[in-house]
Amino acid sequence: MTTVHHGETGAPVDVHDPKLTRFDIVKEGLRRDDIEIVTYESQFPGPNSKAEKRIVRNIAFLFIIAGLFSLAFLVFYIVWPWKFELGHTLSDYFTPILGITLGIALFALGIGILAWAKKLLPHELSIQQRHGDPSSDEERLITGQTMMFVADELGVQRRPLLKGAIALGLAPIGLAAAAPLVGGLIENPHKGEEPMMYRTGFDPVANGGKPVRLTRDDGSPIRPEDVSAGGQMTVYPGIPGGATNKYADSPTLLIHLRADDAEKTRTAADNDKNGRNKGSMWGNYVAYSKICTHAGCPASLYEQQTNRLLCPCHQSQFLITDNAQPVFGPATRRLPMLPLSVDDEGFFVATSDFKDTVGPDFWERP
């Protein structure tokens, strides 16, 4: 690297010397701060050069633009009809106008200032010494000893009883301070109000023991003929608030399968390994939880030809005719099946809650 020595920057000057120019005094300050100005030169051949005048004009122009557009911003902000109205109206242009006027104003101001700095101010090249050296060994030693001395003064080392008392007596103070901050937040996921982790709104317990009806989001119950063959419908538990986010785990997809698919589905369900899906279909109807077992998005895209249910979040695909087993994507678990039946009045009900756990997977899932 360059080894030329630049530390030597002249002797101190007497700043009270009336002969000194202001720049001389500035240079004395720089010298004291260990800075050397190597070059400092105007960008123009002489005072009042043509080039300089042109640049000054341009900068002034930019500042005036900034001012004009700021004014325009204010005027539009005040007078433009801004209240939202349906259809194509003037109010559609309010936000773009604000953006353009304010944007141009600020941008012109910024460029003006930049041009001033870059084109008008003299070019300079200064060198400052870093002084990044660590403290001297001596300094380190003194500070270290001072810290040790503070410890000596406290005398914890010499007074074992205090040491023990700090460890045993005072340690809980920290915990006591943290406990109310954290403790209030802790909720036991396995206790508490309905609906709980493993239950949905279709649990008859919440409905006074009666099977819960399947309803639309307006609460109206559903008859089998409301869903045509090959069709599907999102259904909710027919209890108060059943279609709200309070029962976020309950949304279910009711599907009316075509006869051949229904046959396949029924065979698969009846031969279910753990037997949970056995007899859960009603006629050619099957109902699966809509809550993806991967991360809980609604798995709502039903592909009729392939009988797959696609989750839009991470593209897990579930095969409807095979107990909704995952066939592609990151999901590992099938969608739970809701046991269906029809009550005396001819409306769909769930004979019990889902038998698999609904929603994203977790450590202690039963």
């Binding site: 010494q129 937040l185 949304p251 895209l301 678990r333 997977d361 899932r365």
Partner: protein, 534 residues
């Protein structure tokens, strides 16, 4: 009595004296005015992050004046007809009010969101600059760690903010966040229940995210940014190697006025660009998504870009579930918890890992050109490639749809790409760096290609080279040592030809008569001028 006329100069001097009597500021103030900063365009990237953070604070405070962080169900009666009568949370309703019934509210919302995107983007680019130039080396490791933490906090600031309006998209994001918490072994359900105050979604989460978003996270961000800048100030900025520049000095210009003015001007320009984007480009039109309903999701629901890499990793993860007796570990755990954790801790440790490998305990104030440390470039490119493949996979359904590719093919391409492309990126970038290095050395040894072809008496053609340094008795150039900085490779860089004319189609300005930047005092006879244009 005659009133003494107030002399402004004297009054100012007296005021200044009074201030110094009380606070003794004259000397430190002078030192501040005189502080020298090195300059290079790549040092401005961090500044963009700072400026967009300021815009975030300004616009965010405005939003808080109207936003209602409550999940109480209300029926909508506002100005947007399509949603009238719909049940929604008060948070969503107030965000709609901000968009439609507050003068300039939509502008402010969009400004806030664009500033957030710019904030994250500039942090990433700034980090890349710091990484590839080796600016993180001793003594600046702590500032590198703070930088990584800033990105992490920005990530959470963005995520909590995105969740606040409680529209269809934010609910989907929250749902996935809850599933990620659930995927943690042993404590998963407890964590989710504690954060949501019971079962998902509960009625507390928006209020909790709100206080995190407007107070806790910005507070920590502000504190860390202050420390970050304080350390830069104390340690002084790194500089590129070049004439006069050593590891012990800073070559540049004084902070005032020129440097400070450039900063101010740049801030206004960045602010102006954010304002333009906020006005012209719609972002997060929450009224189209409707209120959050657990049963509904629009397809192609994409998070903000800085969250997409995580979404991508989650999509690419194969469905491997691990069972421990009655317990199980869902695959979501690996990309979302382990992946995110590794993505933040590994970079944090990198400065020490590299120093250890190179057995390097010195302090570095001169930057390294990327080509001079091919391995580092390779590792960086590997990480970037991983990030890019993951991010693209976060939008693989959109890509599949737009280009009519099968989704499953996109997923498999992502899985394979994630494993294969990063090592390839490593290999190619190391090769490119080595090639560039070699070319530099060649020019230093043989000189610049002149484009003049000479025919030797024996009929062979050779190209004449202009040596950069002195020549020996046989007329051969004396090889020069590499100085860690740009090696001139064209005759016009040597002043032997007119400087290249600026402009793509037409010259922007008349070719100057003199070399563009007057050579600073030449340091040694053997070294050619190295022009760094700023």
């Amino acid at each position: 009595m005659k009133r003494r006329k107030l002399d402004p100069a004297e009054a100012t001097a007296n005021f200044a004296k009074g201030v110094d009597d009380r606070f003794q500021v004259a000397t430190p103030l002078r030192a501040l005015l005189n502080k020298v900063f090195p300059d290079h365009w790549s040092f401005l990237l961090g500044e963009i992050a700072l400026f967009s953070f300021i815009v975030l604070l300004l616009s965010g405070v405005f939003l808080t004046l109207f936003f209602d962080p409550s999940m109480k169900e209300v029926a909508y009666h506002g100005a947007y007809p399509a949603l009238r009568g719909t049940e929604m949370s008060a948070a969503y309703e107030s965000s709609l009010r901000l968009s439609f019934e507050v003068r300039g509210g939509l502008f402010m919302r969009q400004m806030h969101h664009w500033a957030a995107l710019l904030f994250m983007a500039s942090i990433v680019v700034h980090m890349a600059r710091v990484f590839f130039t080796g600016a993180f080396r001793k003594p600046r490791e702590i500032n590198w760690v703070i930088g990584v933490l800033l990105f992490l906090l920005g990530f959470f600031a963005g995520f909590t903010g995105y969740s606040l309006p409680d529209d269809g998209l934010s609910g989907t994001g929250l749902r996935i966040a809850s599933a990620i918490m659930l995927s943690l072994p042993v404590i998963g359900t407890w964590l989710s229940a504690s954060i949501f105050g019971g079962e998902y979604p509960g009625e507390l989460i928006i209020g909790r995210f709100y206080i995190a978003h407007v107070l806790l996270i910005p507070g920590i961000l502000l504190a860390l940014i202050s420390v970050h800048l304080g350390i830069v100030f104390k340690q002084k900025h790194t500089q590129w190697p070049g004439p006069l520049r050593t590891n012990e000095n800073v070559v540049g210009e004084r902070m005032f006025p020129r440097y400070a003015m450039k900063q101010g001007g740049f801030f206004m320009a960045v602010f102006g660009v954010i304002a333009l984007m906020a006005g012209l480009f719609q972002i997060n039109p929450i009224w189209l998504f409707g209120p959050y309903r657990a049963a509904e999701v629009s397809s192609a629901s994409q998070p903000d870009w800085y969250v997409m890499f995580m979404d991508g990793l989650v999509r690419l993860m194969p469905n491997w579930q691990i069972y421990f007796g009655p317990y199980s570990l869902p695959p979501l755990f690996w990309p979302a918890v382990v992946g995110l954790g590794a993505l933040f801790t590994l970079p944090m440790l990198y400065p020490w890992l590299e120093a250890r490998k190179l057995n390097d305990t010195r302090s570095h104030h001169l930057l390294e050109r990327p080509r001079d440390n091919p391995e580092r470039v390779g590792i960086g490119m590997m990480a970037l490639t991983f990030f890019v493949v993951a991010t693209i996979s976060g939008a693989n359904d959109v890509i599949a749809d737009k280009f009519h590719i099968s989704l499953n093919a996109m997923t498999w391409a992502g899985r394979i790409g994630l494993l294969i492309l990063p090592p390839l990126a490593y290999y190619f970038s190391v090769r490119i760096c080595l090639g560039l290095q070699q070319h530099d050395r060649e020019v230093l040894a043989h000189g610049v290609e002149t484009g003049i072809i000479r025919r030797l008496p024996n009929g062979a053609f050779i190209e004449v080279h202009q040596p950069l340094g002195p020549i020996d008795d046989h007329g051969h150039p004396v090889p020069l040592e590499y100085a860690g900085w740009v090696v001139p490779k064209k005759m016009n860089k040597l002043g032997a030809l007119a400087p290249t004319v600026k402009g793509f189609f037409f010259p922007v300005e008349k070719p100057a008569e003199a070399p563009v930047s007057p050579a600073p005092i030449s340091t040694s006879g053997t070294r050619e001028e190295i022009s760094s244009k700023s």
